[in-house]
């Protein structure tokens, strides 16, 4: 019944792209043009013109957005939606062989809800149970398409690392101090987390050297026997080559600094520190390394390592030169990243544009897709959101969302379609009850 109903929802979503023009809106472009009243022209999935004085192509679908606000589609740099089953392969401390790409569930309702919150792209990560976790994937919220169709083509693949309490939890199965370490998985301390990463990259460097030697021989026209492929080390080799971004879950300043030094030692870069709740303490070092910081706006105190979290984190990191974003890590929070951005105005005094950048152009940079999305500029993908009010206000509601010029969310159609969905649901339920009479199971809901 669930599945059938979902199919009904999917049927409503994407419309065929043609030429779309959005007029008279307040456009917060997050690009060079800043915020202005004007027009956006979308053709073949791309933004082809933006400005206050733009020719409207004939035959275009014109949307009058007078009094409304347009922003680039929101990008969530840390999400676990659309993952089928568990997000953690927790049996080993280095799980770099597993890939989120293999477990995408395009029917997760969280995708639609994220769209309804203005999100158009999201970085889907492995969990944080391992010092080195699985491979990550950037999706576009193309609700209604299959798993393959959700993938953000051209985004740099990533890998999840995790520091602190989570990766050491499996090393402390009894939780308490001095408890017998039955079934414990190394590591159990922050010292061990560092060691696990160093051990893995020691192996990966040797592995890379073997392949480099092989490649050199091939380049010389020789025909050597290729080395054996190691799926665990293959993705770490890509990290060493700069072809795969490291997104590292972390909380405390000590562990952030530790990973920077490990990366320095092994000659790779951390693309983003995720959560990075104490990033404000070591913003200087993060900026010097060239890493980004993707944090929560105001989560704190839910675990010991989150006790020094401050809502000023994003603002401090921004002021100290770290490219910063606000992420959700949560299918609920994901729906309102626009007002999470507003918290960086309240806490730390960022400007409106700086605040909105935390959920648009900055995460685009952190995912290596800022040439395609993150701002409303000519040549970029037409990933666009219309709000009825100022998107930094708690009273604003998403009205329409486009991805690649296709409309994937429309509040009016969602609301007006509800009676029909109820009817369809009832029909399906009746049909199911007719086929399989109630088994005396859970009782009325």
């Amino acid at each position: 019944m669930k599945r059938a109903f979902l199919t009904g929802l999917i049927g409503l979503a994407p419309l065929v792209a043609e030429v779309t023009v959005i007029q008279n809106a307040t456009i917060m472009s997050e690009g060079a043009k800043g915020t202005f009243k004007g027009t956006i022209v979308v053709e073949n999935g791309k933004i082809t013109a933006v400005g206050d004085n733009v020719m409207v192509p004939s035959g275009a679908t014109v949307i009058d957005a007078a009094g409304q606000f347009v922003i680039p589609g929101i990008i969530d740099c840390h999400s676990h939606i659309a993952v089928d089953g568990g997000v953690n392969e927790g049996s080993v401390s280095v799980s770099s062989m597993v890939n989120i790409r293999d477990v995408i569930n395009p029917e997760d309702i969280a995708i639609y809800r994220a769209l309804a919150g203005g999100v158009t792209s999201a970085n889907i990560l492995h969990g944080s149970a391992n010092a080195i976790g699985g491979q990550t994937l950037v999706l576009k919220m193309r609700w209604g398409q299959d798993a393959e169709g959700m993938i953000f083509q051209g985004a740099t693949p990533g890998i999840k690392f995790a520091l602190g309490e989570n990766p050491k939890r499996a090393g402390n199965p009894q939780g308490g101090r001095g408890a017998p370490a039955t079934n414990a998985r190394y590591p159990a301390t922050r010292m061990g987390v560092e060691d696990v990463i160093r051990e893995a990259f020691t192996e990966a460097k040797a592995y890379k050297a073997t392949w480099d030697a092989y490649d050199a021989q091939v380049a010389k026209g020789e025909h050597p026997i290729p080395p054996r492929k190691d799926l665990k080390l293959e993705s770490l080799k890509e990290v060493l080559e700069g072809k795969r971004f490291v997104h590292a879950h972390c909380y405390r300043a000590d562990e952030i600094l530790m990973l920077i030094r490990v990366a320095d030692d092994y000659g790779f870069k951390i693309k983003t520190f995720q959560h990075v709740l104490e990033g404000y303490k070591v913003a200087k070092e993060i900026a010097a390394h060239g890493a980004g910081g993707s944090t929560f706006s105001d989560w704190w105190g839910y675990k010991a390592e989150a006790y020094d979290a401050i809502p000023y984190n994003a603002a401090v990191m921004t002021k100290k030169g770290v490219i910063s974003s606000l992420n959700s890590d949560d299918d609920e929070l994901m729906r309102r990243l626009n007002t999470e951005a507003a918290k960086a105005m309240k806490y730390g005094g960022l400007t409106r544009e700086e605040a909105l950048a935390l959920v648009t152009i900055n995460p685009a940079k952190q995912l290596g897709v800022d040439n395609k999305v993150g701002s409303i500029e000519v040549g970029k993908d037409a990933d666009i959101v219309i709000y009825d009010k100022d998107p930094l206000s708690n009273y604003a509601k998403v009205q329409k969302v486009w991805i690649d010029g296709n409309k994937y969310f429309d509040r009016d159609s969602d609301v007006s379609g509800r009676p029909n969905k109820e009817l369809e649901k009832k029909k399906l339920a009746d049909k199911e009850n007719a086929v399989t009479p109630a088994r005396g199971g859970r009782g009325p809901q």
Binding site: A116, G301, Y302, R336, Y347, G348, N394, R442, G443
Partner: protein, 447 residues
């Protein structure tokens, strides 16, 4: 960084010693219970609002605060937290909610409140001047606590400032938390308040596996209701014995704690997510002739008329929540407060949480976007909460004679970007700095 204390113009002579006396000049007053008054002055004396108006004159020597261009609202009230009782939610040693025992009405949240909890400073910096703090997290025994609990203790209404919990007390028995049995069963991650409760029930009934049939679930439910009824019967019997003062009468702390409930002086606060659970809880309260407040409902169903007719108030959970099943509209949680309001039910908001208590006003604002009138949202975080918890005569609005629990702000207090310029609890200006502002200043200045 907020500019607390910078608004003081002068402070000398007669009132210099009294730190709960102040004159706020030329401010736009939003009393909540009446129309706004632009550019008036408010005189606070001995912690209470002494006068409001355009012609009020500052007594000689009183501390004067310039409110020009600012707005004055009553401080906000969060109707469900565990503030003071829970510091780091995942570290059991720092958590004092969720005691063992089935019927524990004698437990008092108030005397376990740690006034030095870092949460107080953090939450009040966003304009929240008082909260309800509950002995259990809305679940049956709560995380790490005893399972199978029915009555978890007395919830206290407290101010967000004080040297001791006695200073902070507004009402130590503002409610008794009753986890009334429910037959409702739900799956999935809720994001709403009483997930633990439903999960526990599901566990009791073998939910999650195919074991429990509805018949079994119903039988369990009936047994549990009987247990609760028995406890109330025994308490009532005790009440009679006590009144009669029979020889050999033995004092019992549990039943003693139930007397204010039986006398209708203190309400039971009952989490009830489903329409049916609401109905059952209300029916029970009626049978027992006790006052009831419904906590964190997740649907209204056809209960609106009953709640309205019986004048039963409701504490709504966070609107920042996902619908609990995938068939529900995406804006289900945001729209729910508007539905309760339209049904004529008296509502207030609770965050059911410490970490997000500071976001109370934003939860109210979100309800406005999806159908709750603005004025009602404001009432739901001020006067309604005060009235529901029995302190409507002392707080919750800006009126003569009430405590000066006030926030001085530069805009709409339900909007995120609005800054709190000053906060008063019983007329005393409260420090807006906290652990987080201190860390911010320290590391912003790091070379």
């Amino acid at each position: 960084m907020r500019k607390f204390g910078l608004l003081v113009v002068c402070a000398v002579a007669a009132f210099a010693a009294a730190n709960d006396t102040v004159f706020i000049r030329g401010v736009d007053v939003y009393p909540v219970t009446g129309p706004e008054m632009k550019g008036v002055s408010v005189l606070v004396q001995d912690g209470k609002i002494a006068d409001i108006g355009a012609r009020v004159i500052a007594p000689k020597g009183v501390k004067i605060v310039d409110g020009k261009g600012l707005r004055l609202y009553p401080g906000m009230i969060d109707s469900n937290t565990q503030l003071g009782l829970s510091e780091i939610s995942s570290e059991r040693v720092t958590v004092d909610t969720g005691e063992l025992g089935e019927f524990m009405p004698q437990l008092k949240a108030l005397s376990a409140v740690n006034p030095e909890s870092e949460h107080f400073g953090v939450v009040r910096a966003n304009g929240i001047t008082s909260v309800m703090t509950f002995p259990a997290a809305g679940g049956r025994g709560g995380r790490g606590g005893g399972g199978g609990q029915y009555i978890s203790g007395q919830a206290a209404l407290i101010h967000m400032d004080g040297w001791t919990w006695e200073d902070m007390e507004i009402k130590r028995d503002a409610a008794v938390q009753l986890l009334f049995p429910s037959i409702a069963m739900r799956g999935g991650r809720g994001g709403l308040a009483n997930v633990d409760f439903a999960d526990e029930i599901a566990l009791l009934f073998g939910g999650g596996s195919a074991a429990g049939t509805y018949t079994e679930a119903k039988r369990n439910y009936e047994t549990q209701v009987e247990k609760v009824t028995d406890f109330f019967d025994s308490a009532r019997h005790y009440q009679k014995e006590r009144t009669a003062n029979l020889p050999g009468f033995k004092r019992d702390l549990k039943y003693e704690a139930m007397l204010p409930v039986l006398e209708g002086k203190v309400p039971v606060a009952v989490p009830a997510s489903r329409e049916r659970a609401i109905h059952d809880a209300v029916a029970f309260a009626e049978r027992e002739h006790i006052k009831i407040v419904i906590m964190a409902p997740q649907e209204l169903g056809k209960e609106g008329a009953e709640l309205k007719a019986k004048n039963i108030p409701v504490i709504l959970g966070r609107t920042e929540a996902v619908p609990e099943n995938q068939d529900l509209p995406y804006d289900y949680a945001e729209s729910l407060p508007g539905e309760f309001y339209k049904a004529g039910v008296k509502i207030a908001f609770g965050t059911f949480n410490n970490e997000f208590s500071r976001n109370l006003p934003y939860n109210a604002a979100r309800a406005v976007a999806y159908g709750l009138p603005y004025d009602e949202a404001l009432k739901a975080v001020t006067i309604n909460a005060a009235e529901i918890w029995g302190a409507g005569d002392k707080m919750g609005s800006i009126e003569k004679g009430k405590w000066a629990d006030l926030m001085l702000v530069n805009g709409d207090p339900l909007e995120t970007a609005t800054q709190i310029k000053a906060l008063y609890i019983k007329g005393k200006e409260v420090d807006l700095s906290n652990k987080q502002t201190r860390l911010y200043q320290k590391y912003l200045a790091r070379p």
